[in-house]
């Protein structure tokens, strides 16, 4: 299964369940798949588990986790049941995004759609800036975690924007908005946080959150003339930085991908002559 297929299935599932308001009443999803949820005090490295009985599945969540995290875990477990994907959590600690297997990524995509349905989310985010002030407003309304909300904000934005999760000063996870994907802007996994970024400064102990505006080539090659606004927060317990990037100058971004104009073509005069159909190399005379 691909992430795209998981997202389409999630949208259909949400639509068929008839979800029309946030925060989403997750019990409606459970009813739909004849499952129940319970809470139990589990160890810190267990977010939850699901067991199948003859009467349906029971999803048990760690009562010691934050409520917003439990909601995402519940949606993730529903994803496993609906998509029929086996679990694979052999990659590392639950809070880490390092080397997440595709099944888990697909279930995260499905879970995000259940918790933050795209139509409802985009309506709420419309006209708001791409930063953590907006995230903090939305996450209260939606009853979701900061990470899930920030990721969703970037993924559904009509501006060229991105959500980055960095760990130990290196980028681990990137979510891009459709315009940023169209611009073919990419930050490879493992990229160190650039020295001029707010994220870098926060890790150096400046504060817990910050914003900066700078030239986009700090992150993306060739973006010297494109202004980018950054909003970041730092989570010292996990040495993680959450970053939202947003291109504030769409015209400059458009110019990057615009085909060469006539004026530009004139600048090239003298480099190559126009083709005239005449072959320039020696004639067809055979060499002896």
């Amino acid at each position: 299964m691909t992430e795209f297929e998981a997202e389409l299935k999630a949208r259909r599932f949400v639509q068929e369940t008839g979800v029309t308001k946030v925060p989403v009443d997750l019990s409606r999803y459970l009813e739909r798949i004849s499952s129940k949820v319970s809470l139990d005090d589990l160890s810190p490295n267990e977010a939850g588990y699901t067991m199948a009985t003859s009467k349906g599945a029971l999803i048990t969540l760690n009562a010691l986790d934050r409520a917003a995290r439990r909601r995402f875990t519940l949606c993730h477990e529903i994803a496993h049941l609906v998509l029929g994907l086996p679990s694979d959590h052999s990659h590392g600690p639950e809070w880490s995004y390092a080397k997440r297997p595709l099944n888990e990524v697909c279930c995260d995509v499905f879970a995000a759609e259940l918790l933050l349905p795209v139509n409802l989310f985009t309506d709420m985010a419309k006209g708001r800036s791409i930063d953590f002030d907006t995230v903090d407003y939305l996450r209260v309304e939606i009853f979701a975690s900061r990470e899930a909300t920030a990721s969703r904000l970037a993924a559904t934005s009509k501006l060229a924007s991105a959500y980055l999760l960095s760990e130990g000063g290196k980028v681990l996870h990137l979510v891009r908005s459709p315009p940023l994907r169209d611009a073919k802007a990419w930050i490879p996994r493992g990229t160190p946080l650039p020295a001029g970024s707010a994220a870098y400064a926060l890790r150096a102990g400046e504060s817990r959150s910050g914003t900066r505006t700078y030239s986009g080539d700090l992150w993306f090659d060739g973006w010297q003339d494109v202004e980018v606004a950054e909003s970041s927060v730092y989570i010292p317990d996990y040495d993680q930085t959450l970053t939202l990037l947003c291109c504030t100058d769409q015209d400059e971004l458009d110019a990057l991908s615009r085909p060469m104009t006539t004026e530009h073509a004139k600048d090239d005069d003298g480099l190559l002559k126009p083709l005239d159909g005449q072959l320039k190399w020696p004639g067809t005379r055979k060499r002896r």
């Binding site: 129940k36 319970s38 139990d40 589990l42 160890s43 810190p44 490295n45 267990e46 977010a47 939850g48 588990y49 699901t50 067991m51 199948a52 009985t53 003859s54 009467k55 349906g56 029971l58 048990t60 760690n62 875990t73 993730h76 477990e77 496993h80 086996p86 679990s87 959590h89 052999s90 590392g92 600690p93 639950e94």
Partner: protein, 128 residues
């Protein structure tokens, strides 16, 4: 093939009766090397007729027989979980099936005893 739950439970029942592989082979009129391979998980569970002959001489309790029959027809059960169920009279095949179905979120993995208790709880909640 790795260790199988069926093989591990067979060996436990044989050792409980203090029978050697040769003893059981002689009683059931089955090649002891074949029994050894089943116990080590190198052979699939035997045909029903052979299974019946082995069971006759292993003399399991009703609960032990139920667990053994469940494992005879169900693959991919954790051997440690099956052994725990064998020794817990309340761990019926249904409970063992529920415990086997577990899907974890996180890296924590509970011990077999905890998993069986969680399965009993899941059954209670879903039926309650």
């Amino acid at each position: 093939m790795g260790e199988s739950a069926y093989g591990v439970v067979m060996r436990s029942l044989r050792e409980r009766r203090e029978l050697s592989l040769r003893d059981l082979g002689a009683l059931a009129e089955i090649d002891y090397a074949y029994i050894s391979k089943i116990e080590r998980g190198e052979k699939e569970p035997p045909p029903e007729e052979t299974f019946g002959r082995l069971v006759r001489h292993l003399k399991p309790s009703a609960h032990e027989l139920a667990v053994l029959k469940f494992l005879y027809t169900t693959a991919n059960v954790d051997p440690a979980l099956a052994l725990h169920a064998l020794n817990d009279p309340d761990a019926s095949p249904e409970i063992l099936m529920i415990a086997t179905s577990v899907v974890h979120r996180g890296t924590g993995r509970p011990a077999p005893a905890e998993l069986i208790e969680r399965a009993k709880r899941a059954k209670r909640i879903m039926e309650g």
